[in-house]
């Protein structure tokens, strides 16, 4: 009985560890999708000068958490998931606020700078996710194992 309970604890604590890590995965994925959008936006502004509505309407992403932000391009204030910090909200919000108000050359410069900024954020978040994911799963496992040993 003790063995089964111990194994369940190991399993549960490992799952909890990976659940904790998933928050960081979501944030990394958000920045990956945002970078994809920014690159797509820059390309559309450069080559076809398509209006933002058309760009947003034609951009395809599996990341559902990005949709409220993209909709805000044409319909009011930017909306973010809770894991995006105030600083990050400021950077993204300011970009979307300025977007569409200038000529093509300025828009390309603005979007290029944003792509670089988001790329940097994405790399930071990827690194953080890798570290945290590995650590939290290991910690979860070893915590469970420790409890298991104590129980025995």
């Amino acid at each position: 009985m003790k063995t089964v309970t111990g194994l369940v604890i190991v399993l549960l604590s490992t799952v909890l560890g990976s659940l904790y890590a998933s928050k960081f995965k979501k944030k990394r994925d958000y920045f990956v999708s945002l970078e994809n959008f920014a690159v797509y936006l820059k390309r559309e502004i450069s080559f076809s000068a398509s209006p933002l509505k058309t760009v947003v309407g034609s951009f395809r992403t599996d990341n559902e958490e990005l949709a409220p932000l993209l909709n805000s391009v044409t319909e009011g204030e930017a909306v973010f998931p809770e894991y995006i910090t105030e600083d990050e909200r400021g950077i993204i919000g300011r970009f979307f606020e300025k977007l569409g108000k200038s000529d093509r050359t300025n828009e390309i410069e603005l979007t290029s700078a944003f792509v670089e900024e988001i790329k940097r954020k994405k790399e930071e978040e990827s690194g953080r996710y890798k570290r945290v994911a590995a650590l939290s799963v290991k910690l979860g496992f070893f915590f469970g194992l420790a409890v298991f040993i104590i129980l025995l």
């Binding site: 398509s50 933002l52 391009v73 108000k101 000529d103 300025n106």
Partner: protein, 286 residues
């Protein structure tokens, strides 16, 4: 159509009969004026007034927001048109803009700090080209339509295009400002090249679409006259418009000298919106 204007102005305009509304003029910190049935009046919350006292005024910030919304929140996608002084809405409504021109050498690259917006509302007038069409019994003639701005040149050529289309004539619209084509209801045999300079539209249109007739609006400058001459040498008939008050007036001087020699029929509008003042066969006088 007026979705790009502030709500209060939209509400004021909703009290105005749209069939008689021809233009809305918005100037920075000045009362909003409308062209209504041939007259000008101020726009107030209750509709039209001859007194400026209760008229709407629009601040510089509001005007900037109007231009932003007019450009579908994407000014960069309209910069080329803004540099030419207009933006055309999908419905064929031309919105003229005035402000500070940004130049690169002799070329205007943009207009910033917009101070005036003029929304010109087109109206289709079915049958307004009846008198002109009666001269096309034995075939379309190279035709120039002459009038001052806002008298109905575009409306007339649009009606001609529809009539020719219903006679299965292949018509190419060289629509530099996208004002003619969007409002056409009968366009089975009509092709359109929009937002392109006339030289490009004529050359490429003739090569690629083999039109019977090219219809274009507002000839302006030597390059446009050369495009017309090239089309006529190619055996394509041209129906065009030009600003002026009479046949002799437009041919008098400057870059437009020689324009009348390119055409067989002149239609002069004047004395009221859409009124044909004179139709003259030019070959007979030559």
């Amino acid at each position: 159509m007026f979705g790009f204007l502030p709500k209060r102005i939209q509400e004021g305009l909703s009290a105005v009969n749209p069939d008689k509304l021809f233009e809305v003029r918005i100037r920075k910190d000045r009362p909003v004026c409308v062209g209504y049935g041939g007259d000008t009046a101020y726009l107030t919350p209750c509709g039209l007034s001859l007194s400026a006292a209760k008229a709407f005024t629009v601040s510089g910030d509001e005007l900037a927001q109007i231009v932003f919304e007019l450009c579908d929140r994407s000014v960069y996608s309209h910069t080329d048109k803004i540099a030419k002084g207009f933006v055309t809405l999908p419905e064929g409504v031309r919105v003229g803009l005035c402000g500070e021109c940004v130049t690169d050498g002799e070329r205007i690259t943009n207009i910033k700090n917009i101070t005036s917006v003029n929304i010109r509302l087109p109206h289709a007038v079915k049958g307004c080209s009846d008198k002109v069409m009666s001269h096309f019994v034995h075939g379309v003639l190279n035709t120039i339509v002459i009038s001052p701005p806002g008298v109905g040149k575009t409306t007339l050529v649009r009606d001609i295009a529809e009539r020719l289309s219903s006679n299965l004539c292949n018509v190419l619209i060289a629509d530099e400002r996208n004002e003619i084509f969007p409002l056409m209801t009968s366009r089975d045999t009509v092709d359109a090249i929009v937002y392109a300079p006339k030289k490009y539209a004529f050359e490429n249109g003739i090569r690629s679409m083999s039109p019977d007739v090219i219809i274009t609006d507002e000839l302006m400058g030597r390059a446009d006259l050369e495009a017309v001459a090239m089309a006529e040498r190619s055996g394509v008939k041209v129906i065009a418009t030009v600003h002026g008050v009479g046949v002799e007036d437009v041919d008098r001087e400057g870059e437009m000298r020689g324009i009348i020699g390119l055409f067989e029929l002149a239609v002069v509008l004047g004395g009221g919106r859409g009124r044909i003042k004179e139709i003259r066969k030019l070959g007979e006088n030559a």
